[in-house]
């Protein structure tokens, strides 16, 4: 019998909003072998190049338990080394910093939410069981493309 968490994740991967993100080139699933979910998210580098970063998620007991997400070198099957992590402003640097648990440093993440009471202090960014995977993908996509905004605005100035 399918684990309810796996069934829920599979259903969410079939959501119109999730599919729209795939079709728009914002994200895509690399592999799903419950509870492991590997995915890519499109990003804009400080020089304006469009690239994609890999992530490894753990969706055990989803959605009651927060997903845990690490930035991951999916080809080498290791955490992405610090020099290769996304560059940009402070929000980018903090999100993808190497820290004790080395998950993405966003309050919705299972480990970051507990760390320094981030989930309590920032409830609008914390995980709730009524959230969907798309919330995480949108959040990471937003952070990974902050460089694009600065580029656009400088070009328009």
């Amino acid at each position: 019998m399918l684990d309810p968490a796996e069934a829920r994740v599979r259903a969410e991967l079939d959501d119109p909003g999730f599919i729209a993100g795939v079709q728009a080139g914002r994200w895509r699933i690399h592999a799903f072998a419950f509870p492991r979910l590997d995915f890519y998210i499109a990003a804009t580098e400080p020089d304006g190049r469009t690239v994609a970063y890999g992530f490894r998620g753990d969706v055990t007991n989803f959605p009651a338990t927060n997903p845990m997400v690490r930035i991951w070198d999916l080809a080498a099957d290791t955490p992405l080394s610090a020099p290769l992590r996304p560059k940009g402003n402070q929000r980018v640097a903090i999100t993808f910093q190497q820290w004790g648990d080395d998950t993405v440093y966003r309050p919705w993440d299972r480990m970051t939410g507990l760390h320094n009471s981030n989930a309590v202090n920032l409830p609008h960014l914390a995980w709730r069981s009524d959230r969907r995977l798309q919330f995480i993908l949108e959040d990471l996509h937003g952070i990974l493309n902050l460089n694009a905004r600065a580029h656009r605005l400088r070009a328009a100035a």
């Binding site: 080139g25 994200w27 690239v51 910093q97 820290w99 760390h115």
Partner: protein, 182 residues
């Protein structure tokens, strides 16, 4: 980091595993922030989607229009729906929306097309509030009085719903506190 384009050779897991008949396509459609999948055959035109939305919401087809995700021009009613990619189709009411953005003690407003993105609103707000481009990445939009940051890919029309105006706050994007980033 990988130098790949995600829109090439990529399908969602579910898209790839459905095993549906090849002549039936499930088209993602968004109307007033509600997402649905509409099954269509290759011969269906844009009018088919408009008819479904208009019927469900007691609206007139002529009061609605459709834009494909990533495109700027509305689709003609007689145009085929399926474009080989199953991109999301956004259905909007025709009238534009006046968006007010509040930042500190000031406010500015401007009319936007319903298929304008919140990213376009944010770009405009950063310019009109004279925020330096180097600081642009620090800001997000929330609904007025809320702290929930809005996804910038969403369309103005989906936030407006049946209304012709709404207000947003321009805020500093929050960052988690801690780790040991140098």
């Amino acid at each position: 980091m990988t130098d790949i384009k995600l829109q090439d050779d990529t399908d969602g897991l579910a898209l790839a595993s459905k095993g549906e008949p090849p002549d039936i396509h499930r088209i993602p459609v968004r109307f007033e922030a509600h997402d649905l999948l509409i099954e269509v055959t290759a011969d269906r035109t844009v009018e088919y989607i408009l008819t479904i939305i208009a019927t469900d919401h007691a609206l007139l087809i002529e009061d609605l229009y459709i834009v494909r995700e990533g495109e700027d021009a509305p689709l003609a009613c007689e145009q085929p729906i399926h474009d080989g990619h199953q991109r999301r189709h956004h259905v909007h009411r025709r009238q534009p929306v006046t968006v007010t953005v509040n930042y500190q003690a000031a406010s500015h407003h401007r009319e936007f097309r319903r298929h304008g993105t919140l990213e376009a609103v944010l770009d405009w707000a950063i310019r009109v509030f004279d925020i330096d481009a180097s600081m642009a990445g620090e800001f997000e939009l929330t609904r007025m009085g809320s702290t929930e940051e809005l996804p910038l890919s969403d369309h103005v029309g989906h936030l407006a719903g049946k209304h012709d105006a709404f207000a947003l706050d321009l805020v500093r994007g929050d960052i988690a506190n801690g780790g040991h980033h140098a």
